[in-house]
């Protein structure tokens, strides 16, 4: 019997999308391993969340303890270490998120269990669990297999798969908290919300978005002119905001904003998955990049393989002409 235990993730009272996305993978693996899926929820006051997760047909195990009110890596590790001993799942998975990366590697070291980070897919073939992961910013895939072990640990990339529709209802079971006392080494202090800027790019109709291909901030006027001609707002990749060319509140992607404009122009942006996750919902996507292999082209509707400094000024002129 090989059960798959999924740690669902929630923050500030809501389940995060990755919790549902994992339900696209876990049942398939559990079936191949002749086991069942169990979803673990740790936190405080999670009745609604437990009900929501149970709608995916899995058994939901709830650890309701005020000690888990805010995520804490040490507490999670301690509790999960005990729960893995009790539940003995063949696979334990959670998201490759700011939460998942903060305790999974330590848990793997402590329990001496095989661990693969950021899988985009999992398969169970010929008695072996295998994970697919990306290397070199998506240009290479690797297949990594787990050596036989009591439990294989794996984190799943966010937005790698689509969440399935809820199917059947499962049971909810409350179990005692494995923690008997607080752990003092690391203290949660507070959350600080992301800064709000002058333009809310989540509301923009047209975004002209720029990446590291801009090279330096003195090139910014080239982009500004195009944005002006198209009546667009400017946004950027993390590389552009880290460099200070574009304000932080205009960063598109997992650690920035999720945007859904009618038109998104990606200029000199490679299309790392953290960026794609924030913009692939745009209605029409245009990408200009001089690397024909750039992953941004995988989500583009219109693609131009060329230098932005040749294409953008010409496009600006044409837009001015056509739009008068």
């Amino acid at each position: 019997m090989g059960d798959v235990l999924v740690l669902a993730e929630h923050r500030q009272g809501s389940l995060r999308d990755i919790s549902f996305e994992m339900m696209a993978i876990a049942p398939r693996i559990a079936e191949a391993m002749n086991g069942e899926v169990k979803v673990l929820l740790m936190g405080s006051g999670m009745d609604d969340m437990a009900k929501k997760m149970s709608e995916y047909g899995a058994k939901v195990i709830v650890v309701d303890d005020p000690l888990f009110e805010n995520f804490n890596a040490e507490k999670y590790q301690k509790a999960l270490s005990a729960l893995l001993d009790d539940l003995k799942p063949a696979v334990f998975m959670t998201g490759q998120t700011a939460q998942g990366v903060d305790f999974m590697p330590a848990l793997a070291v402590e329990k001496k269990l095989p661990y693969v980070a950021e899988a985009i897919d999992l398969n169970f073939e010929d008695g072996t669990l295998k994970a697919t992961r990306n290397l070199y910013s998506g240009k290479v895939n690797a297949i990594v297999s787990f050596k036989p072990a009591d439990t294989c640990l794996v984190t799943i990339r966010e937005s790698a798969v689509e969440a399935p529709e809820p199917a059947a209802s499962g049971d909810v079971e409350k179990i005692d908290s494995p923690l008997t006392e607080d752990i003092p080494y690391r203290k949660f202090v507070e959350y600080i919300e992301a800064e709000v800027g002058d333009v809310d790019i989540t509301q923009s109709d047209i975004l002209v978005s720029v990446g590291r291909g801009l090279k330096e901030d003195k090139n910014l006027p080239v982009i500004e002119e195009l944005a002006k001609a198209m009546k667009a707002d400017i946004s950027g990749s993390r590389a552009a905001t880290d460099a200070g060319w574009i304000p932080h509140d205009r960063q598109v992607g997992t650690s920035g904003k999720t945007v859904k404009p009618k038109l998104y122009l990606a200029l000199g942006i490679s299309g790392a998955f953290q960026h794609l996750a924030g913009m692939k919902g745009a209605k029409t996507i245009v990408a200009v990049n001089r690397d024909p292999e750039a992953p941004i082209f995988s989500v583009a509707d219109y693609a131009i393989v060329d230098d932005i400094f040749k294409v953008v000024p010409a496009l600006t002129e044409k837009m001015k002409e056509l739009k008068g």
Binding site: A98, P105, V109, A117, K139, F146, E158, F188, I304
Partner: protein, 262 residues
């Protein structure tokens, strides 16, 4: 304050064509240009800022080839004091837990208050090494850190969560912090620093020097096996617009206008 900063020498593949070698397990990196991992560059800056603020020293630690010494010297030119480079083919470097074990082994008899790593290596991107390192050393950690405030015996770290939300945590030292990009503005190495860096101590060691048995950090010890690498097919439904740059711009402009997109 004694800080250790772990840095990795990585290829820039953003505009490179990547080919898998016939062994199916490595890529042909002969044509890549290598440099410090982006997040590690910010980690170096943060370590130098801590030194400038609190006094003390910064040691660089890196597992990598001889060529990476250019990167190590650059970190020393920016203010790091000395460095250790580990080179050994027997390390199972596809497994971040084995890499972390070697880093921990290299720090075994040392005293330190803080260890900075990058939160993510651009090449294999496990986002795991720093947190695993903390566990091997039995010390505290916080990952994805975008602000560091060193207090008395403690550190306040701002962890960057999805959507730009910050989680502020306070932890007791010693601790590992994995640094996220954008935390500071990495400086350029001053000319004088570059000259001084050539004279700074750079020790090169292997597993034997560290007293690590290859069977503890090699592929037998790793619990995961790198089966094979392959180039994924880029499925693109995009319409590729052809021609000279001007023509492409013109065609695109008319598509956008005719389609009512602008």
């Amino acid at each position: 304050m004694k800080t250790i900063v772990c840095i990795k020498y990585v290829p820039d593949t953003s505009e490179a064509e990547v080919k898998v070698n016939p062994d199916g397990k490595t890529v042909d990196d002969a044509k890549f240009s290598f440099d410090i991992n982006d997040a590690d560059n910010y980690a170096v800056e943060e370590s130098v800022l801590v030194k400038e603020d609190k006094g003390g020293e910064v040691d660089v630690l890196s597992i990598g080839p001889k060529q990476s010494e250019v990167m190590i010297r650059m970190a020393m030119a920016k203010g790091c004091d000395r460095a250790t480079r580990v080179e050994d083919d027997r390390i199972a470097d596809h497994d971040p837990l084995m890499v972390a074990k070697v880093l921990a082994g290299a720090l075994k008899d040392q005293e330190f208050d803080l260890i900075f790593t990058g939160c993510w290596a651009e090449d294999d991107g496990h986002m795991s090494t720093g947190v695993a390192l903390a566990e091997y050393l039995g010390i505290n950690h916080a990952s994805m850190v975008k602000k560091v405030e060193v207090l008395d015996g403690k550190v306040k770290a701002h962890r960057e969560l999805e959507g730009g939300l910050m989680e502020v945590v306070e932890l007791e030292l010693p601790a590992v912090l994995t640094i996220q990009t954008g935390i500071n503005e990495p400086r350029y190495a001053p000319i004088r620093g570059i000259r001084q860096a050539q004279k700074k101590e750079l020790n090169v060691v292997n597993l034997d020097d560290l007293g690590l048995d290859p069977s503890e950090v090699g592929s037998e010890a790793s619990l995961v096996v790198l089966e094979n690498l392959y180039i994924p097919e880029v499925e693109s439904a995009a319409e590729f617009i052809e021609g000279e740059a001007d023509e492409k711009a013109e065609k695109l402009a008319s598509i956008l206008v005719k389609g009512g997109l602008v």
